[in-house]
């Protein structure tokens, strides 16, 4: 155990946790906006898979990470339109249609992968700051700062984007007219409607935000891992939905949840690699992140109150 509590190992574990948390955070922030407007989207994982494949295939063909991320966003947008039409305008049951979106994403991303790629071919991973074309040299001295360098600066741009989105989403929800409308239609759509707020339009845009971030989360995941394969996300989208509840629909607490999940996962893998967890206990160790998340949900999230109109379709009377 003493080998874990050395500064270099602790820093490396924290840095791994930050990297690991990024796709969870992006997807959960998007889902937070959607849920605050009263729309639950269980299709996040499917949208992530489609975004992941789109980004991976684009980079495989063009070698451009930027284009890959844009494709991920575009796929999120398209899936957002689909989900919004089904849930907001056709008033479909949100849980069921979300699962439908997930299954579609799971199957279609795999079909596209089989038809267009076949055998997994690694692509170039998203570059860390010091490897950014043209400007990488500026960051090299920062990465070499003892301990802090690897922790804070040895990441790719999507890591910083994800964490900067936390205050951005907080500001969007709390300080803008759109954010107030989102909260209003999530709490009491009838009242919001009577005050002239278009519930359908507000929810439509909120879903767009959520799905774009889901697509971007998938793209980031694929380009961080530099590969794609069947069911690459392995349920990240569902954990992201759980993190929204964990974070009580507050972006900063959602971020805390994503970091906690990343930290628990990184710690258990590090402990296994240092033989702190015996091999025979690997199955139990693999369950730890899920167990801790569930415990945290039970202990913390039950005190929080979600949007009153969450999962309830709005029909004008």
């Amino acid at each position: 155990m003493s080998q874990f509590f050395t500064l270099s190992v602790l820093i490396a574990t924290l840095a791994t946790a930050i990297k690991f948390a990024v796709p969870y955070l992006l997807a959960a922030l998007g889902e937070t906006i959607g849920q605050r407007s009263g729309v639950l989207n269980l299709g996040v994982d499917g949208i992530m898979l489609l975004g992941a494949f789109g980004a991976y295939y684009t980079v495989l063909e063009t070698d451009s990470h930027l284009l890959g991320l844009i494709v991920g966003i575009a796929i999120g947008l398209i899936m957002g339109v689909l989900y919004a039409v089904v849930t907001v305008f056709l008033h479909a049951q949100q849980g069921i249609s979300g699962i439908g979106i997930f299954l579609f994403g799971l199957g279609f991303s795999d079909l596209l992968f089989q038809e267009l790629v076949g055998t997994t071919k690694p692509v170039k991973p998203l570059p860390t700051l010091d490897k950014l074309p043209g400007v990488g040299g500026i960051f090299e001295p920062l990465i070499e700062i003892e301990y802090l360098g690897p922790l804070l600066f040895d990441h790719n741009l999507m890591t910083y984007t994800a964490f900067l989105l936390v205050p951005a989403v907080t500001w969007l929800l709390n300080k803008t007219t759109f954010g107030m409308n989102v909260r209003a239609v999530g709490e009491n759509p009838q009242a919001a409607d009577s005050l002239g707020v278009s519930v359908a339009r507000t929810r439509f845009i909120a879903i767009m935000f959520g799905c774009v971030l889901a697509g971007l989360a998938g793209a980031t995941l694929a380009l961080q891992l530099a590969v794609f394969q069947h069911n690459l996300t392995n349920g990240i989208g569902f954990i992201a939905v759980a993190l929204v509840y964990f974070g009580a629909w507050q972006p900063r607490w959602v971020m805390a949840g994503a970091l906690l999940y990343g930290l628990v996962t990184a710690t258990r893998l590090r402990w296994q690699s240092l033989d702190i967890i015996p091999q025979g206990a690997s199955d139990i160790a693999a369950m730890t992140p899920a167990i801790i998340t569930i415990l945290a949900l039970v202990l913390l999230a039950r005190r929080a109150r979600g949007p009153a109109a969450l999962t309830k379709p709005f029909t004008r009377h």
């Binding site: 190992v9 490396a12 574990t13 791994t16 990297k19 690991f20 796709p23 795999d110 089989q114 076949g118 055998t119 997994t120 071919k121 690694p122 991973p125 995941l221 961080q224 891992l225 530099a226 590969v227 394969q229 069947h230 069911n231 690459l232 392995n234 990240i236 996962t265 990184a266 893998l269 590090r270 296994q272 690699s273 240092l274 033989d275 091999q279 025979g280 690997s282 199955d283 160790a285 693999a286 369950m287």
Partner: protein
């Protein structure tokens, strides 16, 4: 008369020379091969060994560069183009596919996953005219129409571990679930590494055959801990290979040839040639015996083949040492369990 004898002698020598040349072309005899750098790794379709219809049900993708692809490639070598249902991690889905093929009258249904055993125990008795081939498993569950197969993966693991120890003192292993041939390979690898002077490799089982993110994070943890070489198994290992590439660490593959993932850093791969046991099983099926036997892949029977990467500049002494180890394993002079 003398001339006739002389001709006979020359003929015999010529025939022996031909056989020797055929068996020993390059250095690639039986259980050891070397890929040509930059060559296509695809397996060519062989001459068909049977007219019987064959179906394959497998958990991961047919081109996963791992467990399932090793079976698809093996069937190709036998000239068999099977009906395939892949990606059936969910056992219920696999069971439906297995039953569906049997109902459709397919002669041989290959259930390529240990986890399908329970389903097979229910399905096989309902179709006594169908032969089921199941693995990895060391027994047929007492079913007369089930053949079983199992790779002695510890053997190639031992060889890979032995080579890895010659390249690095500390080695990281990314395991999936602590079961089946993954455990055999990893334990064999650890034995081989320690036999060649390395410290006990650091072994992490991620708990998933398919979670690339966990495999990547695990491999990164190994790299952060300062290992000098990596290995892993299952289709999720592609994540570990990307870490090996980013950190310039030698990589050792198993199940299929992982040069498809890393042509520069893959040193050697243990490749499963299921065709060695499948051809025997098919012969028995055609003779009317539909099952009842378990067969294993070994270095000795050619079911396990060590494929060295022609692109990787491996020291000739290390390579010779590895081939000597292979010979010793085949001869039974080294125990890998």
């Amino acid at each position: 008369m003398r001339l006739t004898k002389l001709l006979k002698l020359f003929s015999m020598i010529f025939a022996i020379a031909l056989v020797a040349a055929a068996c020993g072309g390059d250095d690639d005899a039986g259980s050891v091969t070397t890929s040509e750098c930059g060559s296509d790794l695809g397996v060519a379709m062989g001459d068909s060994v049977t007219d019987l219809s064959v179906a394959l049900v497998a958990p991961s993708a047919k081109d996963d560069v791992a467990f399932t692809q090793s079976m698809v490639d093996s069937l190709k070598r036998l000239g068999i183009d099977p009906q395939i249902t892949d990606g059936t991690f969910v056992v219920e889905e696999a069971a439906a596919a297995i039953r569906g093929y049997a109902e459709d009258g397919v002669n041989i249904v290959i259930a390529h996953g240990t986890q399908y055993g329970g389903s097979l125990a229910e399905i096989a008795p309902d179709f006594p005219e169908t032969s089921f081939i199941w693995g990895t498993a060391t027994d047929t569950q007492g079913l007369a129409n089930v053949f079983a197969y199992y790779p002695e993966a510890d053997q190639g693991g031992y060889v890979n571990g032995y080579i890895a120890a010659a390249l690095a003192g500390d080695i990281g292993i990314v395991g999936p679930v602590e079961a089946g041939d993954a455990v055999a390979y990893i334990e064999g690898f650890a034995m081989g590494a320690q036999a060649n002077g390395a410290s006990a490799p650091s072994i992490v089982y991620t708990g998933s055959f398919s979670d690339v993110a966990l495999a990547t994070t695990t491999a990164q943890a190994h790299a952060d801990n300062g290992v000098g070489a990596l290995t892993g198994t299952s289709q999720s290992a592609v994540g570990a290979v990307t870490v090996a590439t980013a950190n310039d660490l030698p990589w050792f593959g198993t199940q299929s040839n992982t040069e498809a993932w890393s042509s520069d850093l893959t040193v050697a791969s243990q490749v499963y040639h299921w065709d060695i046991v499948l051809s025997d099983m098919i012969e028995q099926i055609e003779g009317g015996t539909l099952g009842g036997e378990a067969m294993s892949l070994t270095l000795e029977n050619g079911g396990l083949v060590m494929e060295f990467n022609g692109c990787y500049d491996l020291d000739s002494d290390i390579r010779d040492g590895a081939e000597s180890i292979i010979a010793d394993i085949i001869a039974g002079d080294i125990t890998t369990k």
